[in-house]
Symmetry: C2
Subunit: 239 residues, 2 copies
């Protein structure tokens, strides 16, 4: 069944206008017509069975019929990731949506080679991945800011899993020792953190340094691996 992320409020009988791209996908790719069913969600009102109510010259109108799942949210996991090459940032955002991150914060570190970031494109990737993965919300993607600024404004009670190539406790054990709750995972740039950054990170009282094994991982691999281990150790995979 097709799943579509929409922004309108959802209630019984509510009319919903998807974007032009979504409309084209429904009518031209999936060949839906009036009366055909699909699932929609908006990140607030759960998942709804909807029908195509009208096919207009430009766009379609959907009608929400009934709620199929109440709104739920995944665990409170943020992915903080240094800006890397565009293709790898896009992979990371797609995988963050699949692996249940709530928010992706792009950061600039000392050794970041900033590539052009198109936030609208990243939002579209996150929405499409959320549609396909079955979740009921879409991760928020933030504009790049400096890593220092993120650390300066750190939220009370949020722990930080920090992938340390210079060594650290094995990930699973280090995470289960800490337990669930609000977390963030930090993935550095391809060139690693600078010595000053590494020193600051290792000194943070809320940070846990973990090792992702003996091989050097590219940034996208490290992000996917870290999120997988986090979900399996303290996220919602064991429930």
């Amino acid at each position: 069944m097709i799943r579509l992320y929409v922004t309108s409020d959802l209630s019984p009988g509510a009319a919903v206008a998807p974007t032009l791209d979504q409309s084209r996908y429904l009518t031209q790719v999936m060949r839906l017509g009036v009366g055909d069913a699909l699932l929609i969600f908006n990140g607030r009102d759960g998942e709804w069975r909807a029908e195509v109510a009208e096919v207009l010259k430009k766009g379609v109108i959907l009608k929400a019929v009934e709620q199929t799942r109440p709104q739920v949210f995944g665990p409170d996991l943020e992915l903080i990731v240094a800006v890397v090459k565009k293709a790898r940032v896009e992979t990371i955002v797609e995988k963050a949506a699949e692996l249940g991150a709530k928010r992706v914060r792009l950061v600039v570190t000392r050794r970041t080679n900033t590539d052009r970031i198109r936030l609208d494109r990243l939002d579209a990737i996150a929405e499409e991945a959320a549609e396909q993965t079955g979740r009921l919300d879409v991760p928020v993607i933030d504009d790049p800011v400096k890593l220092e600024a993120v650390l300066d404004g750190w939220e009370d009670g949020r722990r930080l899993m920090f992938c340390d190539e210079t060594g650290g406790a094995p990930a699973i054990g280090a995470l289960t020792a800490e337990g669930p709750g609000p977390w963030a995972i930090l993935i550095g740039p391809e060139g690693g953190f600078s010595p000053e950054e590494g020193e600051r990170l290792r000194g943070l009282p809320y940070a846990t340094a973990v090792s992702l094994g003996p091989r050097i991982l590219r940034a996208d691999t490290a992000a996917i691996t870290a999120m997988s281990l986090w979900q399996a150790a303290v996220g919602d995979w064991e429930r």
Copy 2:
């Protein structure tokens, strides 16, 4: 330091001719000249410090100087993966090299939409990822065969981690209960296994069904996640 995978035998003073592509990379991209150093490995003789001995009109000659690391192999992990879209197969091969798989076996299942497989391109991807990740061998990539044939010819003593979307024990617990040794991870096609395939897999005495959480994962994500959890639970990440 540049790391290059070569096929020649390595011993003190041995002359090594890299491929033309590698030669171009060394001289034109990395601007190496006679006397400059790099690391080379062949999957048999460990890692060696080498020097550029001669720059010819076409290609370069390297000279092996001394062994920097003895040959080691990662854990005995095979990734068995249904053929999916070309770009995703390429991602999977790259990540299998980074995450320490020894062999990637492509399989055709009932619901596989076979895409064109270029084994030479997959080999090149595996070699490049092995060079960057620091390992001393390159995963072997096998031509696609039928899943049934792989199961019919199953090797004694090898266990199978099988990602079951219809439910299974949480991955970490299910794996640590089984312990280390020769393993394979099986990743199905985007459409999942057929009911007959699922039944056969669940009935295999050497198979462990694991769950990768409540969200639907694309094939490449499932492969990366499964290899990460395997390495963390019973591979070489805890050593």
